[in-house]
Symmetry: none
Subunit: 193 residues, 4 copies
DNA sequence: TATGAATGAGTATTCATTCAT
DNA sequence: GATGAATGAATACTCATTCAT
């Protein structure tokens, strides 16, 4: 399997750095290759084309989020607790990898519609898990049992996304992790009403 | 003033249509010019370059939002009422102009970081007015008086934005306006807690 | 009509020279553009892509052959006379334009199957006229009335083609025009038997 | 001697198949290697480079033609008989190996001028034998004793070549062998006149 | 003002060849 | 001898912008 070979991850990581440092449109294959320490042609032994690299970047990195969330769902106590952990985890991961934050919040969104659709379908897995938490909470009476799940999900994800994007756009000028408890508190109020 | 001449608005509107119908990257100057019924070169009599058109599109259209919001702030009764009206207005305008919704929620976000930063600074005026409402509400005791205004603003705007973007991405398959009251209710709960 | 503008023919002629002097695979767009005295991009105002240039080269130049042959058929006296004139004309045109001879006999044959099929369909018009002469001659009793027209055509065209290709491959070392009467004589014998 | 080892012929035959099935430009070294059941690198133990394979293909296969023709010259009765046998043999071999016919008549001609000059020099041996037959026939009075041998050779070879190429281009839709007697008859008439 | 023909910089991808194992 | 992962040079085409008319 190609994605188990060391160069696969090496190129993925190089792509994140190259995109974060040069911007989406200035992250040419040659720059990614140079960053990865391989020849341009080597990239194509592991990826079908440039789009394939970008999708794989998102897939690999989003995979981490999905796995953590699955873990949280398995071990979390209440729905409230699970949602809180999810928010904290989301903030923590990106707060600790600014390159990745730049790439997911800003650069990858410049991709064309086609690529964005593919990215979105990868994101769906994550949002489905979020839905699970919300529905469980509604059932258990922790969240407002009459709310519209889609809108609740959009509030939770939209708020998290906007918060992190603003942090990136403000060039990491403040501590993202400090804001997590406030976001958590506000969202939980919204869900409980 | 150039922006008072008929061709200025003609080109702005042509750009919205061209981008909505062809996508950001496929909306070449020649297509915008054709849509506007002018020659390619004429565009450059009214705009410095392509980026200038896109910024102007956002500026002109966002201006409508800002004016409405100023009106709402002037005439609204309570802060809760003002926020409710703002949400409704935001949804209504975009629900009634799908081309514009596509352009602002999807296509314009494919622009490079530079352009997005400029768009963001235009957005700030709108967000400042939102902050005004929030602060007033905190002061009056309608909203939680200890909350972090920046995060509250990010929740309100992030939720609205995510809701509308999803609606566009789902190709307008459901009625956006119907969701407004639910969004309103959920956000107000978040702010009151 | 694009093909009536001066730059159209200018680029066609530049392509013939560039291909003859550099070889098919070394005749890059930039070389053709330079030879034509225009920018690379200008080429694409007149031609869809590189293949389109090459097809057009063949079409334009073969058009001359077809027109001459139509003239010959209209004004020639006997079928024998028409065939003789056709052979002479074919030799004369290429003997007087060595660049063109190199391109049609050697370089253009390096194109891929797709392009070669298109070239072949252009050639068919010329071969149809040749068939006309042969059939008329058979009918009039000038040529063997029982012969297979397809094979007769292949003998005539194959011989002409081989003769000229050899001349090009031998770097024009001998006088091509001098050989025309001998070729003519030999072919007419073949057709009369 | 490398060319006596089994893998040498194995690669040659693989090349014919790979080229016939994929076309000249799509017959990459990797495809030839795969077809031959060896690794890419192994090819370079037997051939200097890709051009060397192609030349060798032509050389090996043309060798068969040359040997048959030498046999024919040795055993044939009259010059007329020898020429007839040569034509029949040429048609028969290619009619019975369509892969080879495709490669020699279509695909190998897409090679660059350099390679085609080398191919042509290999062909010369075959054409020399043809010349022998023609000269003998002129001397014996079977053919027109005043004809130009070079042109006679070009007529014979050009006609055969064009006939077979057309057959390949028409995707073997008719029986090539049936046409041989007609070609023979027509050419002999040309030579006798 | 308005035109639109002309410009030319910039980049993903393929594939023959090598060489460490 | 045999392998196959790695190399890196080389090129068509697009499109924002200009400027002579």
């Amino acid at each position: 399997m190609k994605r188990d070979k060391p160069k696969y991850k090496q190129i993925i990581d190089a792509a994140v750095i190259a995109i974060a440092e040069n911007g989406y449109h200035q992250a040419q294959i040659s720059k990614i290759a140079k960053q990865a320490g391989v020849a341009d042609g080597t990239i194509y032994l592991y990826f079908k084309n440039k789009e394939d690299i970008l999708i794989s970047v998102f897939q690999e990195k989003m995979g981490v989020f999905v796995e953590s969330l699955q873990e949280i769902i398995k071990n979390g106590e209440s729905s409230t607790d699970k949602l809180s952990q999810m928010i904290d985890n989301h903030f923590n991961v990106l707060a600790n990898d600014r390159h990745l934050a730049t790439v997911t919040q800003l650069e990858l969104r410049q991709s064309n519609k086609d690529l964005r659709l593919k990215i979105n379908s990868i994101l769906k897995e994550y949002l489905k898990l979020l839905d699970e938490i919300l529905i469980e909470g509604m059932f258990k009476g922790e969240f407002n049992s009459t709310m519209d799940v889609r809108i609740a999900r959009q509030m939770v994800f939209g708020t998290i996304d906007e918060t992190i994007t603003s942090w990136v756009m403000n060039e990491f000028r403040y501590d993202l992790i400090e804001t997590a408890p406030k976001v958590r508190h506000m969202l939980l109020n919204g869900l409980k009403g």
